[in-house]
Symmetry: C2
Subunit: 260 residues, 2 copies
Amino acid sequence: MKTIAIVGVGLIGGSFALAMRKAGFNGKIIGVSSPPTIQKALARAAIDEALPLAEAAAAADLVYLAQPISGIIATLDLLDTGALVTDAGSTKAVICETGRKLQRGRFIGGHPMAGKESRGVENADADLFRGRPYVLTAREPQLETWIERFGARLVILDPVEHDRLVAFVSHLPQLLSTTLAAVLAGKENVAGPAAADLTRLALSPYDIWRDIFATNAGPIDAALAAFIVRLEEVRTQLRSSDMEALFSQASTSARALRGK
Amino acid sequence: MKTIAIVGVGLIGGSFALAMRKAGFNGKIIGVSSPPTIQKALARAAIDEALPLAEAAAAADLVYLAQPISGIIATLDLLDTGALVTDAGSTKAVICETGRKLQRGRFIGGHPMAGKESRGVENADADLFRGRPYVLTAREPQLETWIERFGARLVILDPVEHDRLVAFVSHLPQLLSTTLAAVLAGKENVAGPAAADLTRLALSPYDIWRDIFATNAGPIDAALAAFIVRLEEVRTQLRSSDMEALFSQASTSARALRGK
């Protein structure tokens, strides 16, 4: 692999570039982004040069799509390249379906499950993926090698199974936090640390979520339905000793979820 | 006020003692607790001496009950004192009902909405209440003066209204976190920062919660029901532009809840 084109050089695209450099990649990294982003990416030494999409894709062995989901889909629709193509979108079924229509080249969906509150290439971090799951939708030895060098935890998942799982582990927590914050409006004067803790995610901007809801509404609806069923059970158990078993099970699961 | 008896010298009782000292109280502080706790409280200089409950209550102008809720209720049942009595229990209706039966003395319910993950007098902190709500169930000039000196935010709330509010701002977040952790069991391999964030509260030990569920099951059930109604609405809105309004409302509320 000699030349990489990164389309969308924000937090994830920029971190991918820095992680590749740190992991020993010494080929060329081309950025495809808006002029202000390109300026910041060059200043950050995340990319070597900037080109329009068609020229970058023609020059690259690997095209890395790190735009918002709708941007990834739009790019895939017009991409013409013989290169290996992957992405960093947080839903996979719709993206992989679009990727299968590539005339040339080969698409493997990806989802680095890492993030930061602060966005943009100025916050890019060579270690952003370290210790975090990095999902690929199929095996691909070249990509796997680099992901392992990043110190990320490689997870191979079918796109549909990926979307079902992230509806639970990522989209459900976001919607619980958002809904809780809305329900607690007007009760701020007695809010303690528990409310603050559970509503941190509710500060997330909507622009990321529009695309997630548009491409994963079915699995999210199923996760919400499953959660409501469990919460109705909790209502019936409130006065019973079943609550102790629930707390114990939840505490074990929480430790595992938090990597402890 | 010359002599304070603190019953239950753990994190909250110990922090109350240290906060009183810092706020300028220079009378005597008597601790009522188990022998190992008394040793730690003396070592921490949170209390001046230790006495059994009856003697401490007889000597005190203020009795501060900082045990678990069931302990506070048991103490109120057998307390005989002419002093002002208050408590730090996290539900108020059942405790205040018990407090009203005091033969002598006068009971005002209290709830400092502050805490820490680490418990015990060894983690007591003179600034634990600073910037946090401190609820009293009725006006009481002496208590109000000290609470203001702690830098806490005084909130006067009827016990029933208090319990209705904490069911939303405190007990509901805990149960959402616990239920989410239980629902996510087995999905740890793809859990990202959102799942970790929302399940931190699920690590809470059950022993505190047993008493809360026992004394506030009705309001908690109502809060869970209200949350489920809102979550069912979210299910119907997932594909609509209403989600943008929800995120915007939630983000405003979250900032207020987090004091930003």
